[in-house]
Symmetry: C2
Subunit: 342 residues, 2 copies
Amino acid sequence: MTTLPSTMFAVIQTHDGYSDTATGPVIDAAADWLAEAEVPVPQPGPGQVLIRLRTASVNPSDIHFIKGEYGQPRVQDTPAGFEGCGDVVATGAGAEALNGLRVAFVAANAGAWAEYVVTQAQMCIPLRPEISDEDGSAQIVNPLTAMAMVDIARGDGDAFVVSAATSQLGKLMCSLGRDLGLKPIALVRRSDAVEALKELGAHEVLVATDPDVTQKFAALSKELKPRVFLDAVADQLSEQIFCAMPNGARWICYGKLSAELPKLTQTGQLIFMGKRIEGFWLTQWMTSTPPADQMRVVGEVQARFADGRWKTDVSERLALRDVVSNLADALKKGDGKVIITP
Amino acid sequence: MTTLPSTMFAVIQTHDGYSDTATGPVIDAAADWLAEAEVPVPQPGPGQVLIRLRTASVNPSDIHFIKGEYGQPRVQDTPAGFEGCGDVVATGAGAEALNGLRVAFVAANAGAWAEYVVTQAQMCIPLRPEISDEDGSAQIVNPLTAMAMVDIARGDGDAFVVSAATSQLGKLMCSLGRDLGLKPIALVRRSDAVEALKELGAHEVLVATDPDVTQKFAALSKELKPRVFLDAVADQLSEQIFCAMPNGARWICYGKLSAELPKLTQTGQLIFMGKRIEGFWLTQWMTSTPPADQMRVVGEVQARFADGRWKTDVSERLALRDVVSNLADALKKGDGKVIITP
C-alpha cells in the first residue's frame, strides 16, 4: 500500500440539491457553482476503490450537474466531476483485484475533479496499455452512450439522425454508424464542420442555421426514412425534425444543450403516425443491461480507441487548480473535450 | 333484396385532403366544411355491405376530419361521418352473412352521415337486440378505445389519469377502471361534474381550472403513483400533469381538444425518469390486435351496454337534413353525444 496524504486539493460544489432551472450546460463563471478546497482524502468502503487521478474529462452532464439541472441532487462541499482515469491506490473489501491498475472510472456520486477519488469497483474499467490517459478519461460516458444509442438506431432501420453532431459523442456515433453500414444524418451548427463530419462517417450533414434546414431534412427523410433521432439539443428545430420523420419515428432525447423549450406542434404525429418521444440515460442503461453485454460493449470501445478508429479530440487542458478560474473560458474553445489534470 | 332508391340525401364534405391547421374539434358553422346533397346510393363491392342508416353519432374525430385535421385525407363530395348503426340491405361477394342484420359500423373512408352507407363487412358488428339504436351508433369508436386504453393502463399499475373525463369516452374509462379494481384519476373542466364522475367510477376528480390543480395532482401522484395518462386535451396543463407523474410515466395522447401547443418544460423527465410521450389511435389498434382478441373485446362491450353498465348519454338529436345548419350549436349543448337520424 502506498503512503497516502491525509488531505487533497479538490474542486468542490457550493450548492446542494436541485436548482429547478433549465438553462443548459453553459456557465459564465465556474465560481458561481464551484470552489477550491483542501479536503480529507476519502477512504474506500466495501466494494470501493481509491483512485489517484491522472486525467478527468468535462462532459455536458458535469455542467448540468453543478448547476443543479441533472438527474441527481448535488451535495455541497463534495468534489464535482463524473468521469476520469487514474491509478487504484487503495481498495475496500471485495475490490482488491483492481489494486495497482490504471482504470477509467465514473464517480457515480460525483468527485472526479480532485487529486483522489473514491468510486465503486464496478464503475471502473481496467485500461489496455495502448489507451492514452486522455482517451482513458473519456472512455465511459460518451463511448458507452454512443454504442448503446447506435444499437437502438440499428434496431430500427439503417438511417438515423444525430444532432449536435460535432460534439465528441456526435462524432463517435457518426463514425460508429458508418462502420456498421448505417447512414447517420448529422445536424451541426456551423457549415465549416460539414466536410470533416462527412469524412468521419456522416452520410448527410445539415446545418441547423440554414433557413431551409427543415425542408432539406424533409426531403432526406423521405428518401432515407430515418426512424430514430438521437438528440442532445431538444429545441424547436428538434421538434420540426421529429415532425418530418416517417411513421413510427422515435425522438430520443439524451441531452438539453438548448435552453429553448420546444412546443409540440402536431399531436397528430403521436396519434396517427405512431411516433413517440422518449429519453436515454446511460445510468439507466447500465442498470438494465446484463453485465455480460456491458463487458462486450466495453471491450469493443477499448478496441476502437486502441486501433485509432475512435479518439478524443481535446480542445483545452486545465490543471485542477485552474478549473474554478478558467473552466468557463475553456468550454468556449471549440467542440473538443476539456481535459483536467491534477 | 329490397328495392333501393338510386339517389339519397347526404351531408357531404366540401374540401379535399388536409388543411394543415390544428385548431381543435370546434366549429362555428358546419357550412364551412359541409353541404347538403342528393347523391347516388353507393354500391357494395366485394367484401362490402350497404347499410340503411338508423342512427349516426358525432365524435370529436368527425370534427377533426371534416376540418382536415385528422390522420386521413378528406375526399371532396363524399359524405362525412365515421360511425353509426343501421340495417344491411345489400352485400358484395363474401359479405352475404351480414344480409338483413342490424349492425354497428365504422365507415373507414367516411360516409356515415347519409341515408345509405357502404363499408367493409369487417367494420360491422351485428348488434344484440337489447342494444338500442342510439347505443348502437356509438358502439365502436369510444367503447373499443376505452377498452384498449384501460387495458394499457392496467398493464402498468392500478392508478391512471384520464383527462376530459366528462366526455363519453372519459366516462366509459372511469367506470370500466373502477369495475376492474383500478383507480381512475379524472380531470374535468367544471366543478359541477365532480360528484357525478365519482359516482360513475372516478377514484379522485380534479378540476382543470382550479389554480391549485397542479399541486393537488402532485400530491395525489405521490400517493397513488399513476404511470399512464390517457389524454384527450394535450395542452400545457397536460404537460404539467405528466411532469408530476412518477418515474416511467407514459403520456398517451389520443385527442387534441385544446388548440394550445404544449411546451416541453423538463427534458430531464424523459432522460432521467424514463418517461415517454406517445399516442393512441384505434385504427392502429384494430390493425395490430389479433381478430380473436378484438372479438373478445367487442363481446365485452356489447355485454356492458346490454346490462346497463355502460350507456350513451345523448345531449342532442339532429335529423340528417338539419346537420349543416344546426351541428355547430348542437355540439355546444353539454358533454353527451349528438345523434343523427335520417
